[in-house]
């Protein structure tokens, strides 16, 4: 039977809207979603698909997101009731929109897809998030690239925009050094999966649903605990391994998580850090982190495994990173590097079963090329030693390699 594919037209569009950045630059456009004024750190993402996944990624907390891809909203927003096999929402990374505001060049006035439930502007309206369209997003991106990320305000209104309100909003906006954990972490412990399976504790510093999905996929049960859960409580679950999730903001403000991780190091439990989790592990080990000028946000970032020299496309969403020269005495060594700028994309302990990556192996949005990180983690838990994904070069006996050798 043929399924009827819904086509829905936008409803909450055509409002007045304006952006003012910290440096005083202003951009006028058309508002959509919910009319209100918000402040936040302006960041850009270069991914071309996956706005429902991106907007619900808790790592964006406190930020106003500018999409570099110009046409957003084409396939609408699916229903929250569409679940994966584990009962997790298929298209959403958390239970709400996490960005403070959305900046696009064009929001589609119509949405069409098999799974479309509502339009993007309607969803933003429902979740009380403002959006602005008609912006020269390339120009805004260049500004952020050149000057670095900065605070700013976005105002959407049915009436005329009052500039003063935006300036006041910027002044009241906190990002750097601000602890977002209470806004993104679970309040109390939650469990997922078959209760008879062995547990993995997920320290929720703003986790994405896809991380939970991938742990379940590994064949474990997930115990998702608040970000500040003490060591003893974590150990009381008798976990087979620990995963420290992604999350928003500066890792250095997650004091209690860092303290917990320091204790976990001595427990000899396998640990996997993802994104913020990677930074927290580095800090706990005595390394240092820094703020990137304009972050890495997109789905096209090549990361190279320094051991095998294999390069994978990864999804990234981070504004902070691990300082490369600070790992010296930590017992950790570089595992993955960014193929473009050689910054650290993953670390690995020399003797303990601890690995961490700066990118998002759970993808969503983005490429699934690094799902094998979870497999590596599973190998650590099962004490198989961390196998690297590698291919048999012999299988690909193209003339090429030989030619190069011949030349030398």
């Amino acid at each position: 039977m043929r399924v009827k594919i819904p086509t829905i037209q936008g409803n909450h569009m055509g409002l007045n809207a304006m952006i003012i950045l910290e440096d005083g630059s202003t951009y006028r456009g058309m508002g959509f979603g919910y009319p209100k004024t918000v402040g936040g750190e302006f960041v850009f993402n270069t991914g071309m698909v996956g706005y429902t996944e991106a907007l619900t990624d808790p790592s964006y907390k406190g930020q106003i997101l500018c999409m570099t891809y110009p046409l957003i909203g084409n396939y609408g927003v699916p229903s929250r009731t569409i679940m994966d096999g584990y009962g997790l929402p298929k298209y959403f990374e958390s239970d709400r929109i996490q960005v403070s505001g959305l900046v696009v060049h064009e929001i589609s006035n119509v949405a069409n897809h098999r799974d479309c439930h509502e339009t993007l502007d309607q969803w933003l309206y429902n979740e009380k998030i403002p959006g602005i369209s008609g912006i020269d997003t390339r120009e805004l991106t260049k500004k952020i690239r050149i000057k670095g990320v900065m605070k700013g305000a976005l105002s959407v209104s049915k009436n005329q925009i009052i500039t003063r309100n935006l300036i006041d909003t910027i002044e009241g906006t906190k990002y750097e050094g601000y602890n977002f954990m209470s806004q993104v972490s679970v309040e109390k412990t939650m469990e997922y999966g078959d209760p008879f399976l062995e547990p993995i504790v997920l320290i929720d510093t703003g986790t994405k649903n896809s991380i939970i999905r991938n742990i379940l996929e590994m064949g474990y049960r997930v115990i998702r605990v608040p970000w500040d859960t003490p060591f003893n409580e974590i150990i009381s679950h008798n976990p087979k391994g620990i995963i420290i999730s992604n999350g928003p903001g500066d890792p250095k403000v997650c004091h209690s998580t860092i303290e917990t991780v320091v204790k976990l190091f001595s427990s000899s439990l396998p640990i996997l850090g993802i994104c913020l989790g990677n930074q927290i592990i580095a800090l706990a080990a005595g390394g240092d982190t820094y703020k990137l000028k304009f972050g890495h946000r997109g789905q096209n970032k090549g990361c190279t495994n320094v051991g095998t020299n294999q390069t994978f496309m990864t999804t990234q969403n981070h504004g902070y990173g691990v300082k490369s020269n600070t790992l010296g005495k930590t017992g950790f060594k570089t595992w993955y590097i960014n193929s473009d700028d050689n910054t650290i994309e993953g670390i690995k302990h020399e003797s303990k079963p601890i690995i961490a990556v700066q990118f998002h192996p759970e993808a969503s949005p983005g490429p699934y090329d690094c799902i094998h990180i979870f497999e590596s983690f599973k190998d650590l838990i099962e004490n198989k030693g961390s196998k690297e994904k590698s291919i048999e070069i012999d299988k690909f006996k193209g003339g090429g390699k030989i030619f190069q050798r011949m030349k030398q």
């Binding site: 891809y69 084409n74 020269d136 789905q299 969503s364």
Partner: protein
């Protein structure tokens, strides 16, 4: 490869492409790309290795056959890039299917068939409709969708004959699914990246070559995008691709189902598109990977800082629109479907779907000003429009508009056309805005409305159409309101890294230019030629590129190119200082001109498209570099050119312009039929026609054309049995360098683009050549030509007539330049800049050794139904040329290069119309007989042969009389005919719609079966002499440079 210090030998008989310029490869062989020739070149040059992925399907097939024949092993040659075994997996349907299943990628249920019986069984099992695919062919050649047994039989028979391995694949048909493609790169260490994903707007129903393609995909979500991407990586990993490939998927819009359709393990038309769409140089990277580099070792050539191991992020939208030329083929079926029929394409870059759609439609240069605002015939019946949505033709987008105008709901249009509703709504947006503009009064038009229209890709002309204003008035109005486009860069990384390149486009979707315009006076803009089409193709790309290099060599600091054809080298961003991937419209050229403020614009290498803009640019006081607009007009305008020739005492065939049938008849009677008629308005069919009598003239004007004071027709005397000669020259206003005199091998009456040609002339006497040289000098000086010039002459009874002169690079400029060894465009770039031309180049065409012969390449096979008889309208889609020590050495190789088989024994089918033709063919038939061919002939021809030549002739029966045996139809299918001479009588040379006579049937079937058909006396003579020569001689194998004496 030259960056790596590697010596390269290029084999390609395509004379017009920049690729066969000696600048790139160490050695160029203008020879057929087939096993026989490549083997000999390998023996001669003893190369270390071979690359197969860069010459399309032709090279790939050739590589496989070289391997299978053991040539590659015997000479210990390495195949660089994707290995032969991997190629075989992707090419053989069954192996491919197995490979996909093993890599956990779904495929459609299907089975191969090696004969009709098997095919029928498979189809019955799968249930109709089914799609038939042919193993090892290009452009979906020979495949098709069958809804019943009858259609199946037709397609399978054609397909089996075309397949190298006599195999077709019968598959379930999924016409309503989306068609999504990925361009993939993979290196020999196993790194894989998806460079570009593309969505076909017309879905699975239409071959991607004929589809409207958008990049990146618009209607699929993250999960679908990456599910397919992951499948692509698994698939190419399994197949062991090294380099570049394209993978196509079908995706069901109403479920989670998808399937892999095919992998092209080579650079393709799609890869060229993907390269231009993303700025990622796929061919360059694939070459490096073939040499053994890994992706991470290579650098992104746009940022010059980041790795090539990444996936481009676009912050714009790209739309590819095919260019069809069905108008040239009266009998051709205009439906588009599973086999490719378009001859070229354009690509538009912008920041909204509406913008790129409308830009692309205009770029196509097919007479439309956008998706709306064209002459819309709304009288069509609803039912007919619905049929057209169901069975799309080249007009599909305009049929969608029609359907919307008729009030057919979008949901129904979607159901019939399978075009995703998102695209349909976007088209509706444009329509609605057009109507809104149409409703407002000129004085009330708001800035907002105008701005929105520009963002939706409306041109000034289109807005003018809606408002009742002239194009230039709209321009002034919007400029007064400060509505101007901005220049943006294509940088592969969505502005995340600083870009070091100037690959640019213009859009209204932004506020600021990406680049700074300095008041640089020493800059020049060069106009390209737009889409490849019949009559304007790759030769102008060669010209544009050489012009850019020439200008740079002559001290121009900044050369920018404007062009919109993704298949060209002129749109490679590293050719020019600035590349504007843009419309070649007056509006856009002015936009760029105003920003660039250059020294001037070069219009002489962009074919007729650029040339046609000269008068308008001249009127607006735009500086033209080259022949000025007054003199360009003098060459273009028939009356003015006639006066010029009169003043020089040079003859031309008598002609005149008419506004009524009566006058036309009187003139035609006076000069005598046949006459050549050129209407200025054509209702149907081709524009030019040879008319043989008064009745026909009347019928043609009444039925197909129109004549009125508004639409005059031009009639000129048509000389039968005359020779055509062309001259390509360069002039700096005073000095003239003639590159060559080129003689057509066919007699006049075949369009110069379809004619076989020869350098140096082989039949002209010295005196005629001198006259032509003198005339050319006189005309060039009188026209004050600065730059290239092409003049076409007619020689009848030793008398020289001028047909026309073009003050621009011509189709034959690369042919002349490469055969004679003098780059006419390099000289032209000197001529237009500082005037001095080198001395001592006296009749250079006479000093080459041997002959250079050009043979047209036709695509009749792809154009279902089209007749192959040539006429005054051009029909070929490409050309090849070969050099030879003798005339027949060159010609026989050129024939082979154009895909003809040269049978040295077997059977010839001869059917000749009219006594005069039969008489002309008398001696040739004797020769065929002497060469021991078995002669088959239809009734009258057989009788003629029996009575006059030989009794060695078997009478065969017409296709229209299938019960009478032996029948031509059976003989064709059983491959019992090796070549056909089918010369229609002069009265049936005239083609008209609906003609389905026997001769046409024979020609058509033969084309479908790949059997050579000769349709003119001259071509038959030259073909048979080639066979005769080949019987006794071997073709010469030499690189191009060998033939140049200097």
């Amino acid at each position: 490869m030259s960056e790596e210090g590697i010596k390269t030998i290029l084999v390609n008989p395509n004379i017009a492409t920049i690729q066969t310029d000696t600048r790139f490869a160490s050695k160029v062989y203008l020879l057929p790309v087939n096993g026989y020739y490549i083997k000999q070149i390998i023996e001669k040059e003893t190369p270390d290795s071979i690359m197969l992925a860069f010459g399309g399907q032709t090279a790939l097939n050739c590589g496989v056959s070289l391997h299978d024949e053991g040539v590659i092993d015997k000479y210990k040659i390495q195949v660089l890039g994707t290995p032969i075994n991997s190629i075989k997996i992707t090419e053989d349907r069954q192996q491919f299917k197995t490979a996909m299943i093993k890599s956990n990628v779904p495929v459609l249920e299907s089975s191969p068939a090696y004969n009709l019986r098997e095919a029928l069984d498979v189809a019955n099992k799968l249930g109709y409709p089914v799609i038939i695919r042919v193993a090892y062919t290009l452009g979906g050649k020979g495949g098709g969708v069958a809804h019943n047994e009858y259609e199946l039989q037709e397609i399978v028979q054609r397909g089996l004959s075309l397949s190298l391995v006599n195999q077709v694949l019968i598959e379930k048909y999924i016409g309503s699914w989306k068609q999504i493609e990925y361009e993939m790169m993979r290196d020999c260490t196993g790194n894989s990246v998806a460079i570009c994903n593309m969505e076909n707007v017309l879905g699975m129903r239409v071959h991607t070559g004929d589809n409207i393609v958008i990049a990146p995909s618009q209607t699929i979500n993250n999960e679908e995008y990456h599910r397919l991407r992951s499948a692509a990586i698994r698939a190419i990993d399994y197949c062991g691709i090294i380099g570049e490939c394209n993978i196509q998927f079908g995706l069901d819009p109403s479920s989670e189902s998808y399937c892999a359709i095919e992998i092209n393990a080579r650079l393709s038309r799609s890869s060229a598109l993907a390269s231009k769409a993303t700025g990622y140089p796929l061919a360059y990277m694939a070459a490096k990977i073939g040499l053994g580099y890994s992706l991470t070792e290579l650098i992104n050539s746009i940022t010059k800082a980041t790795t090539a191991c990444f996936e481009p992020s676009l912050d714009y939208v790209v739309l590819k629109m095919p260019r069809w030329d069905f108008r040239k083929f009266e009998l051709a079926n205009r439906r588009i479907g599973t086999s490719m029929k378009s001859v070229g394409e354009v690509m538009a870059i912008g920041r909204s779907f509406e913008e790129v759609l409308q830009k692309a439609i205009r770029m196509n240069d097919a007479g439309k000003i956008g998706i709306v605002g064209n002459d819309e015939n709304l009288k069509e019946e609803l039912e007919l429009v619905e049929q057209k949505l169901l069975y799309p033709s080249d007009e599909i987008l305009f049929d969608v508009v029609k359907a919307m105008r008729l009030g057919i709901p979008i949901s129904r249009i979607n159901k019939l056309s399978t075009i995703d509703s998102w695209f349909l709504f976007k088209i509706k947006n444009v329509l609605d805005l057009y109507d809104k503009i149409h409703e407002v009064d000129v004085s009330d038009i708001s800035e907002n409305l105008l701005r929105k229209a520009k963002k939706y890709g409306f041109s000034d002309l289109q807005i003018g159409q809606a408002l009742g204003l002239k194009e230039i008035s709209v321009r002034k109005l919007r400029q007064k309101l400060g509505i101007n486009p901005v220049v943006k860069q294509v940088d592969t990384l969505a502005a995340e890294w600083p870009a070091k390149t100037n690959y640019l486009y213009l859009t209204y979707g932004g506020d600021k230019d990406d680049i700074i315009f300095r008041k640089e006076k020493n800059s020049v803009m060069v106009l390209g030629a737009g889409p490849y089409r019949i009559g304007s193709s790759v030769e102008f790309d060669w010209g544009t590129v050489n012009m850019v290099w020439g200008l740079k060599n002559n001290g121009i600091k900044s050369v920018s190119v404007i062009n919109c054809n993704p298949e060209t080298v002129s749109t490679d961003y590293d050719i020019s200082d600035r590349l504007y991937f843009e419309e070649l419209s007056l509006e856009r050229i002015l936009d760029i001109y105003e920003k660039e403020n250059p020294k001037g614009i070069v219009t002489c290498v962009g074919g007729q498209t650029a040339n046609n803009l000269v008068p308008k640019l001249g009127q607006l006081n735009v500086r033209i570099i080259g022949t000025d607009s007054v003199h360009t007009d003098m060459a273009e305008n028939r009356e003015k050119f006639s006066q010029l020739l009169d003043s020089l005492n040079i003859k031309q065939p008598p002609w005149n312009k008419f506004t009524s049938i009566a006058e036309a008849k009187i003139f035609s009677r006076n000069v005598g039929f046949p006459v050549l008629v050129r209407p200025s308005y054509v209702l149907s069919g081709a524009a030019m026609k040879v008319i043989w009598n008064e009745d026909q003239l009347e019928r043609y004007i009444n039925e197909a054309a129109q004549v009125s004071p508004e639409y005059p027709i031009v009639i000129s005397k048509f000389f039968q049995d005359s020779a055509e000669v062309e001259v390509d020259a360069v002039c700096n206003g005073n000095d003239v360098i003639i590159g060559a005199l080129i003689e057509h091998i066919d007699n006049a009456g075949i369009h110069s683009g379809d004619a076989m040609m020869c350098i140096p002339p082989w039949r002209l006497n010295r005196q005629t050549m001198n006259t032509i040289v003198d005339y050319s000098n006189l005309i060039a000086r009188k026209l004050k030509v600065k730059g290239p010039l092409n003049i076409q002459y007619l020689v009848k009874d030793e008398e020289v007539y001028v047909i026309e002169a073009n003050v621009r690079a011509s189709r034959t400029t690369p042919f002349v330049s490469k055969i004679v060894g003098i780059n006419l465009i390099s000289l032209a770039s000197k001529a237009i800049i500082n005037g001095s031309l080198p001395e001592g180049l006296n009749e250079p065409w006479l000093s080459i050794s041997g002959f250079g012969i050009k043979v047209p390449q036709f695509s009749f096979m792809q154009l279902e139904g089209s007749d192959i008889v040539l006429g005054v309208e051009m029909q070929s889609t490409g050309e090849v040329a070969c050099h030879g020590n003798s005339f027949y050495d060159a010609l026989s190789k050129a024939y082979e290069a154009a895909g003809y088989n040269l049978p040295l024994s077997g059977s010839a089918l001869i059917t000749i119309g009219g006594q005069k033709n039969k008489a002309k063919m008398h001696s040739l038939i004797s020769l065929i007989n002497a060469m021991k061919f078995k002669i088959l002939a239809t009734e009258h021809t057989a009788e003629f042969i029996k009575n006059n030549i030989t009794t060695n002739v078997q009478e065969v029966h017409k296709i229209s009389e299938p019960v009478r045996k032996p029948n031509i139809s059976d003989l064709l299918y059983d491959k019992k005919i090796d070549f056909i001479i089918n010369i229609p009588s002069t009265s049936t040379i005239e083609k008209y719609v609906g003609m389905l006579d026997d001769e046409y049937q024979i020609r058509r079937k033969a084309v479908e079966m790949g059997i050579p058909v000769l349709t003119t006396v001259e071509s038959a003579i030259s073909f048979i002499h080639c066979l005769e020569w080949r019987n006794k001689n071997k073709p010469s194998i030499n690189p191009l440079s060998k033939y140049h004496l200097n």
